[in-house]
Symmetry: none
Subunit: 238 residues, 2 copies
Amino acid sequence: MSETRAWRTVLEHIETQLLDGALRPGDHLPGERALSAELGVGRSSVREALRVLEVLGLIRTQAGSGPSAGAVIIATPGGAMSALMRLQVAASGFPVADIVRTRLILESTVAGELAERLGREASEPIDLSAADRLLDAMDSPALAPAEFLALDAEFHLALAEASGNQVITATMAGLRSGIEGYALEGLAHLDDWQATSQRLRGEHRGIVAAIRAADASSARARTHDHISGYYAETSIHH
Amino acid sequence: MSETRAWRTVLEHIETQLLDGALRPGDHLPGERALSAELGVGRSSVREALRVLEVLGLIRTQAGSGPSAGAVIIATPGGAMSALMRLQVAASGFPVADIVRTRLILESTVAGELAERLGREASEPIDLSAADRLLDAMDSPALAPAEFLALDAEFHLALAEASGNQVITATMAGLRSGIEGYALEGLAHLDDWQATSQRLRGEHRGIVAAIRAADASSARARTHDHISGYYAETSIHH
DNA sequence: CGGCACTGTGTGGTCTGACCACATCTGGTA
DNA sequence: TACCAGATGTGGTCAGACCACACAGTGCCG
């Protein structure tokens, strides 16, 4: 039973102190070398534990010396840890409907913002060339659904990238990958793939046109309709 | 560009392969020594990254050799998305500004939708009791910034949960954990914490009131102002 | 006397090399 | 054929060595 892995003991030690109140937000942790000696484990094990705590948002590390930035700092109250872990363990797949609704929110907003910015500031030009290129690529005749889907994904991501918000881009990439399978399955069962793909291509161009026209509300609406229509047609339900 | 911490490059490398589909559940990762050589980082850095992935439930490690238990295995069935998001946010270091902008979009929309649904459908009642409870908890006198921050995080998450969209809830949790450290730091440097906390509490109540009044546009605006005001005041910049 | 550059010290960040325990594979033996 | 001891390679861990950085003095110079 004493088979506990070394970094675990470090994690448990800190977690215990957090729950006890011995460590409170804002406190400094002992140095890595001190923890290592105190707990009888190697510094590398201490670091593995600290890395976990850091990624979980419980800790902030800062090199150098001095009071404000010398050691490691607890950044979050104790209960957050188990909560975070539970949350992440419980994540056994999201409902597709939730993914779609989130796409709607994010992408509509992105399209609207692009249009607004393009209308407002000429200083920092918005680069839609990537989107244009993908638009053309999707016009290739006899494109298989899977190939179209890949280009479509790139197109939507290109708009997000044009917006410059890395978080939205990454989130969209994640969402997309989460439903890729469903999306492909939906396309494969379509009655008239040719007609659908033509409609989707038209909608894509409409979105870009609305952005270029600096028509934010149209860009938002077209994006919204494009995505919701897509999932409605491909019969993707929760 | 060598600014990136070594273990992050490992994390990003694996994350990319996961999103690409190059690594699928059940696959074996290269050995720690191989990864170390391949990415040009030390084995200790590889281990720190693997430890994070393990705690996040994305990976299983097993000592020894042989096919079934030799290397490291991707253990995720596909629900890894929230873990991935948290990873992307917390580990790959997004600009704080992007995180804030994404919060603005997501949370404003959530508040607006809650208000709309509360006004429309009486069939499926919206449960705001958790939010109410946290509202009261935040009224405790002499609450330290860190404690307030924890309750604040729970409050915002409670609204997301009330909306029922699991993706948004998970994303918000990830975003939040990604900037917790910065947020705390910002609060610690405030001139008048008492006044600020009182204002924030008032804004919280205003948001909930707007939702209860089924006033979607007000709920959206109040949420937007609350969040953007918060980050403006705490001087959190990218 | 006041400010500024320099040096010392301790921290996290990283790499390397070395063990250990274990699961597996190998090959030889009964 | 059946079985068992060594070879092999993996993750788990440790110790030691640098580096870059942030700070606290220190002391020269204006």
